[in-house]
Every structure is written in structure tokens, then in C-alpha cells.
Symmetry: C2
Subunit: 329 residues, 2 copies
DNA sequence: CCTCATGATTGAAACGTTTCATCACGTACC
DNA sequence: GGTACGTGATGAAACGTTTCAATCATGAGG
């Protein structure tokens, strides 16, 4: 149906190879024929079939990206950083959403492998899966995003969550707080646990009490409910540190609805610095992760490995988060 | 490098066609050989090359989706709905982000066309572009999302923004408001204009004053600034209707920071019902668009046209939004 | 006039599938 | 025992590119 290079060749009265040359090495063909061929291309509305090209070439110019949840601003920004760099360096990006489901991750991995992506960026749902490891060992360059796996021989880019927790703790202690609540998602999540570790490390030996409130998920609703209970209880904390901004927004809502003033009655500190943090009813202080930078770095590492596999050596990169102070503390 | 069907055939001691049959019509091949072939596939770690398959087949099983901004919850939810249906019906989805830039849209259109996507879902940046129209006329089924174009012969799915404005107006009038501010992005955007039209229609002849405040973009910061001015001014409105939830969150912040109570001192109504609306400091009333449903419908229309072009006739579908009342009104 | 070098163009092979006409081999039937 | 038939398996062609060795034309140098 769609015109092929052959149709163009006929129309232009040249051979098939010449058309290909016009497309791929225009300098190897004379001015005159080049014009004739380009005219034919325009007339027929020819669009090259990249499937055929890549089949012949044996390698594609696309990268696969599988993230846990595109709705999460954290991953969204990372994806954006990756996309920028990929585009810039001439790669296309195939975006996939595993939705934290191993089955979906598996399906997308197979799909991307069938499409022969040149490289792979992924935040795996669980530990290194069979299929992912096979893909990597079979020679597809792979970069882990927001994860480090011991003993897995590939690049990875992540953020130091312990350091983030420390930043939070130091900030709150410096502001004079001696009773701090840590509202967190399941401590089985490494992020949640690491941030608590950092918090504890920062407040150690300073006479500070840390109340840990674990809720089932990192959603605003759970933050709200946890805060209602906290505020009702006896020794109410003077500061609440949340494992992410959504929880903090929930806590903020609880404060507003019970007439508490932030930060006067209770200080509030989030994590991630999502876009809404700055626009909350009381602009939220938060620990910011360099998401865009993470994405860009991951993409650069991957492209480097794809383009110069010989010169490449795997790196595990760990970024440090940064404290953004606004009105809530 | 990667093992091909030929390698599998050799290993299993059968012909190339037989391997293909095992893959595509397992019932046409005897139990015994099927097992031998499957064993060979497993041993070699064979993964089929879909580029070659699609090249031969002349048609792929993937759909392209180009949206204006994946960070926008509205588009994100639509994408999700599309992805669900596509996956369900056996299509892969290639997700692209035009970022409201015509140049990016154009680049992605070319990319998707080179990849020979089977069908296309798009919210165009501007009017129907040359390249998009060419693609469509060349036979790629296309569905417009959140847009209707007069005289363009293809399916489209959108939401009735005038009706949404009316819903908002009726609700506020019924609550007794007689001075309403409409905080909006550029009125050159159809959505913003239509919602105003609906609002005016609802309040017509009821002795209601509508103050239109136009800001440069649909962002929380602009809502905040607009509200500060509104509140400072003389005849302050008793209700504020915003062209989207982000603006409304900005207005809410202005209210909280100036000590106004919502909804007692000023009622607040948003649009889109993004996830954060429910979790705002004062849970936000909002006009909800059936985003997931829009996505699912668009995908179903497209797949229908791809699978049974003969039985298909183009449809322009218009959904009605719905009012979600929470605590802010 | 012949040889050579240079540059432009050509034609065929190859990439990994799928499809389809053909073939081999039993089995059932008369 | 011969014919017809059904089941499985085979092999070659085709999809649209890219690549590369080979060919051709042209002009320069001897």
C-alpha cells in the first residue's frame, strides 16, 4: 500500500540503491539525481519503513523505559529527563507503566525485547526478575532507576534516602522541635525505612522523641486519618515529617480542618517536592529529589553504553537530596 | 547475535516453517514436534523479532498516542484508559508527549508513521496539521481526543465544556451566590471560553454579576495572584469558579493565607476533579470529566476501525461532565 | 590512443519473519 | 491391493530496507 523505496526509484528513474543513498548519505550522490529523487519522494509521499531498516541494520534506535507509576510526579519528572536526553542524542523512547504489577512489567519486557530496543531503563517492581536478567545477560544495556541491586553488574542511578531523612531531622531539630512524628507508608519499602533511619540518625542523643506512624499506603487520605488520630492523642508532636508529599497534604488538611495553624501549632515537612507542594494551602517545606537530573543522568549512562560499549564501565550513581524550606516549617 | 527462528529450527531438527507454525498456529503441528521445538526455544532463549514479523505482515499491532502534556492529570487519566483497552484488545501503545509544541508533535508523527503504527490517537497542538492529515488520508485510522474539527472525516471524542460551565453556574446560583468570579486561563483556549459561555448561560436573567479574571496560564500560582487582587478589591465575589483545579488550589491558598474561610467567606469551585482536589486543605468541589471513559471510548473506536474498517463509520462523541460537590461550596 | 584514477550508479545479497503451495506418509475404504 | 484422503512437515518467496562489490562514464596523464 504505502510507497516503498522501489516505487520512488522507478518514479525517479534511478536504481534502488541510489534512493537509499539519498536518504542515508546524501553527499555520495550527485546534486542532479538527488533533486530528482527528492522530488519523487515528495510526490509519492514516501515515508521510510523503519521496521525494515532496523531489521536489516540488526539494531534499533529506541530505548525502553518501564516505570512503576507515571501518575507519580517523581517518575514523571524522571521520564521527562530521560526523554529529553534520548531525543537529543537521536534515540526514540518507548514509555511503559508497570503499575507496580510484576505481570505487567513482564509483559512489557517481552514486548520491548521483541521490538529489539537498543537499551533499557527500568525501576523493577520487585527484585531482579528472571526475564530482566536474561535480557541484560543477552546483551541489552540496562540501567536501573531509583534502585541499586547488590551484585548485579549494570549501571544504576538512585537517591540517598538516608541522607534525605537526615536533612529533615536536622532541620526540625534546629527549629527547636523535640517531639517529632514520622508518618510513613509501609516500612517494608526501602525508601520509607531509609528515611526513618536518616531521621533517627540526625536526632540521636538530642533528647528528641520520634513517634512512627505507619499507614498502609503513601496517599493523602492516609495522612489525613493518621493526623486526626495524632492530634486527638495525648502528647501531640510539634512537628510532623512525612515520607512523601501526598501524606503531608493529608496531614495539612487535617490541621486546617481542626483549626490548627501551620507552622505555629504544628510544623510540617514533606518529601519529594512535587509540584503541588509549593501550591498547597500552606506552601510545604519538602525534601527535594533531583528527579530531572536523575533521568538525564540515567539516559546518558545508557546511551554511552549503547554507543561505546568498549569504553563503558558500569557506574552506581547516588544523588543527594536537597531541603526546600517554605512556609510549613 | 540473538538466535533466530532458523537457529531454533536447526536445534530442533525441523524446518523453519514448522517453528513458525509452533509460534503462530500450535494446533497445526503434532504434539511431539511442538515439544521438541518449544524445548529448543527455551534452551536458546529465543525471542521473536517483531520487526521482521510486522515487515512481512505489512501491518503492526501498535497504536500511537500523542498528548499535550502527560503531567496533566486530565491527559494522564485519558492515556490510562486508552492503554487499558489497547492492551485488552491485543494492541501495544506507544506513548508520546508533544508538550504543546508543534515541532515535537511533528517529529513524533513522523516517527510513528515510520514505525507503521496501525492507528493514531491524538490531541493536536493546533489545527489539523499537514502531516497529520496526510497520515490520515494515507489510510491510518485516526481518532481525535478532546477535540472536534469541523469537516474532518474521522472519529473524535471530547467533553462538552459548555455543559460543564452550566453545571457550575447552576450550582453556585442555587447556593445563593449573586456575585461570581470566573478565574480562567487565556480565553483563546476553547475550553476556557466554552466554560464561560456555559456559566453565563446558567446565570442569565438571574441578577448575577460575573467578573471574568483572565490569567496567562492554568497554573496554581496565577490563581493565587488573581485571588489576592480579587480579595483586595472592592466588591469581592462570594464565589469563585475556576477554569481548572490548579487555579482553584491557588485561590484556596490565597484564601487560607488571608484568613478567609472556605466556603463560609468565599465558595470555591474547580474543574477537572484531579486527584488532589479531594485532598486539598478544604476538599474541593469540582466539575469532573469522565477521563478514563473518554480514553476507553477513544481506544475502542480506533480498534474497531482498525479491525473492521468496512463495518466502521466515523462518530463524533461528546461526553457530559458531572458535578462533584465537596466541602468548598 | 591507451591506461588509470575518480566519482557516480547499479544490482544482488541479506536481515528474520510468515505464508502457501507442495510433498511424504499413513490410514481408511472399496 | 489400489485409490483417495487427511495430517504434518517442508522449502521457497516475499516484505522494505541497507550495504558493498562491481560496473560504468569521464577526464587526466602519459
Amino acid at each position: 500500500m504505502a510507497p516503498s523505496i522501489k516505487d520512488v526509484a522507478e518514479r525517479a528513474g534511478v536504481s534502488l540503491g541510489t534512493v537509499s543513498n539519498v536518504l542515508n548519505r546524501p553527499d555520495k550522490v550527485s546534486e542532479a539525481t538527488r533533486e530528482v529523487v527528492l522530488a519523487a519522494i515528495a510526490e509519492l509521499g514516501f515515508v521510510r519503513n523503519s521496521q525494515a531498516a532496523q531489521l536489516r541494520a540488526g539494531t534499533s534506535r529506541s530505548l525502553g523505559l518501564i516505570v512503576l507509576d507515571l501518575a507519580n510526579p517523581f517518575f514523571h519528572d524522571i521520564a521527562r529527563g530521560i526523554e529529553d536526553v534520548a531525543t537529543e542524542l537521536g534515540y526514540a523512547l518507548v514509555l511503559c507503566n508497570s503499575d507496580e504489577q510484576a505481570a505487567r512489567e513482564d509483559r512489557y519486557l517481552r514486548l520491548l525485547e521483541e521490538q529489539r530496543v537498543r537499551g533499557m531503563l527500568i525501576t523493577p517492581v520487585g527484585p531482579m526478575s528472571e526475564r530482566l536478567d536474561a535480557l541484560r545477560r543477552r546483551g541489552t544495556p540496562t540501567v536501573l532507576v531509583d534502585r541499586h541491586y547488590q551484585g548485579v553488574d549494570c549501571c544504576s542511578v538512585a537517591v540517598d534516602d538516608v541522607a534525605g531523612g537526615e536533612l529533615a531531622g536536622e532541620h526540625l531539630v534546629a527549629a527547636g522541635h523535640r517531639r517529632i512524628a514520622y508518618v510513613t507508608g509501609p516500612l517494608s519499602l526501602r525508601q520509607c525505612k531509609d528515611r526513618l533511619t536518616g531521621l533517627r540518625r540526625a536526632v540521636a542523643d538530642r533528647g528528641v522523641a520520634v513517634d512512627v506512624v505507619e499507614v498502609p499506603a503513601l496517599k493523602a487520605r492516609h495522612g489525613y486519618e493518621a493526623a486526626r488520630e495524632l492530634f486527638d492523642g495525648g502528647a501531640a508532636p510539634t512537628a510532623v515529617f512525612c515520607a512523601n508529599d501526598l501524606l503531608a497534604l493529608g496531614v495539612l488538611r487535617a490541621a486546617v480542618s481542626t483549626g490548627r495553624r501551620v507552622p505555629d501549632d504544628v510544623a510540617l515537612l514533606g518529601y519529594d517536592d512535587i509540584e503541588f507542594a509549593a501550591d498547597a494551602a500552606v506552601p510545604l517545606s519538602s525534601v527535594r529529589q533531583p528527579t530531572l537530573h536523575i533521568g538525564r543522568t540515567a539516559a546518558r549512562l545508557l546511551v554511552e553504553e549503547c554507543d561505546q560499549p568498549a569504553a563503558h564501565s558500569h557506574q552506581q550513581i547516588m544523588f543527594r537530596p536537597e531541603l526546600v524550606v517554605r512556609e510549613s516549617t
